[in-house]
Structure formats: C-alpha cells, structure tokens
C-alpha cells in the first residue's frame, strides 16, 4: 500500500477513487510513565516514554486506516492528514485520515 500526503501518487495514474478512509485510537498513559515524566520535568529534555507511546499509537491508527482502504479494494491512500486531540485527562486521540484510491 502506497501512502502519501500529496494530492496523488506522483508518477502513477489514479484510476479509481473510493472516498474517505480514517483510523483512530485513543491512548492513555499509565501512571508509572506519568510519574517518570513528572520527575523528568525537573531537569527537562525529551520524555522518551511519551514519544514512544504516541508513535506506537499513531502506528496503530495508520494500520487501521490501511485496513479500511484494503477492504475497499484500494492500493494507495493519498492526501493523508494527522490530527491529535486530548479527549480527557491523561488520554489523547490520534486520528489519521486520507482518500483511498487505486493507482496503476
């Protein structure tokens, strides 16, 4: 499956549009990570636990979107956008959406 955030897959002709596909996941961090982050906040710097957590979650969102596109019979998703929102205390939603297409 080809993923791009351009309007098409460059160099390939789009033969069919399937419409919007999206994937999302809501993740909460566990309390241990929160405490570790609180301690890290004294000295500053990268909060590796959070970075990994969010990357993992985003990866899952992408996977869900790809699965949906596959079900439609697409072989590429174009014009992809990411969105992040914190829905509730300590949890954030990672949302990804795009247009499923079939290219040659």
């Amino acid at each position: 499956m080809i993923l791009t955030n351009l309007e098409n897959v460059p160099g390939k002709k789009t033969v069919e549009h399937f419409g919007l596909v999206s994937g999302s996941t809501v993740r909460a961090k566990h309390i241990g990570k929160d405490i570790a982050a609180g301690l890290k906040n004294i000295v500053g710097g990268e909060l590796r636990g959070y970075t990994e957590l969010l990357q993992e979650a985003r990866h899952e969102s992408v996977g869900r979107m790809m699965k949906e596109a596959e079900r439609m019979g697409a072989n590429a998703v174009v014009n992809i956008r990411f969105a992040t929102s914190s829905v509730t205390q300590g949890a954030s939603e990672l949302f990804i959406y795009g247009t499923a297409v079939r290219v040659e």
Binding site: I2, L3, T4, N5, L6, E7, V9, P10, G11, D34, A37, G38, K40, N41, I42, V43, G44, G45, E46, L47, R48, Y50, T51, L54, Q55, R58, I80, R81, F82, A83, T84, S85, S86, T88, Q89, G90, S92
Partner: protein, 152 residues
C-alpha cells in the same frame, strides 16, 4: 521550620532544573545543528506540486515525532511571565527544539530520498488537560511529509 525546608526544596529544584536543563538544552542544540548540517542534501519543503511526474521513481509517507519537556527553572520562569505577559522565551526554545528534532527524525525515515514534499507540522501540548491545570509542561511535535526519489 517546615516552611524553611519547603523553601530549601524549592531552591534545590530550581538550581537543579537550571543547571541540568541548561546543560541538556545546550547539548541538544549542538546535536541538532550537527545533524542539520548532515542532512542539508535532503531538503524538506512545503511545496506539494511535483514538476515532472514522469521523473518520480517512488514516493512514501514519512513522519517523525518527539515529546520534549520543560525543566523546573523554566517552568517557574514561564509561570512568572504569565503574570506580566509578554514573550515567554522558555517555551520558545522548547518548541523550537521539538520542531527541529521532529524534522530531523522525519528526514531519518526519508533516508535515500531526494526531497521531502508537503511537510506539515502538528503540535500538541501534553498534560494540558481540559480541566486547565498543566500537570507536565511538555509539547509533542509531529512532522510529516512525502519522501520522493527521482529517476536518475
């Protein structure tokens, strides 16, 4: 006596935050500048139009993200700043570091490509709750774009 201990802890955290945070930031900036020089041959642009589509060999989505937190000293400084208003330098450098680091990580995923097109940034504050209280002063930056290899 108790208030004296509290004050002592506060001053200790402040000093620790200042020293460790300052050193960490300096080190991070040095590493960012060095890696930016290394990746100069792979430009990340916001252009989304491909000049000659026939010349494109392959294209794929790349992304890089990082979550960076403030140190205690800067957090206190930023909170003081909120009383008087104006530029909050502590947060400016924090976000700058996060964006540049995210860009570098994105470029790392795009290794071997000629260019990264349609680069976009997503910033979200971590620990900033709907309730208002900021548990952790941190930001997460995501950079993403489409890496393209041209036919030689």
């Amino acid at each position: 006596m108790e208030s004296l201990i509290n004050l002592g802890v506060f001053v200790f955290l402040l000093a620790l935050g200042y020293l460790a945070g300052h050193a960490a930031e300096k080190k991070h900036y040095a590493s960012i500048i060095a890696r930016e020089k290394e990746t100069l041959n792979l430009p990340a642009v916001t252009i989304r139009h491909v000049e000659d589509e026939e010349m494109v060999e392959s294209a794929w989505l790349v992304s890089g993200s990082v979550c960076v937190g403030l140190d205690y000293f800067k957090m206190v400084l930023a909170n003081l700043r909120k009383i008087f208003g104006g530029r909050v330098g502590a947060y400016e450098t924090l976000v700058d570091r996060a964006r540049r680091e995210a860009t570098l990580r994105m470029k790392k995923q795009a290794a071997g490509a000629d260019i990264v097109l349609n680069t976009r940034y997503e910033t979200s504050s971590i620990g900033q709750n709907a309730g208002g209280k900021n548990a952790v002063g941190a930001v997460e930056v995501l950079a993403y774009g489409t890496a393209v290899i041209y036919k030689k």
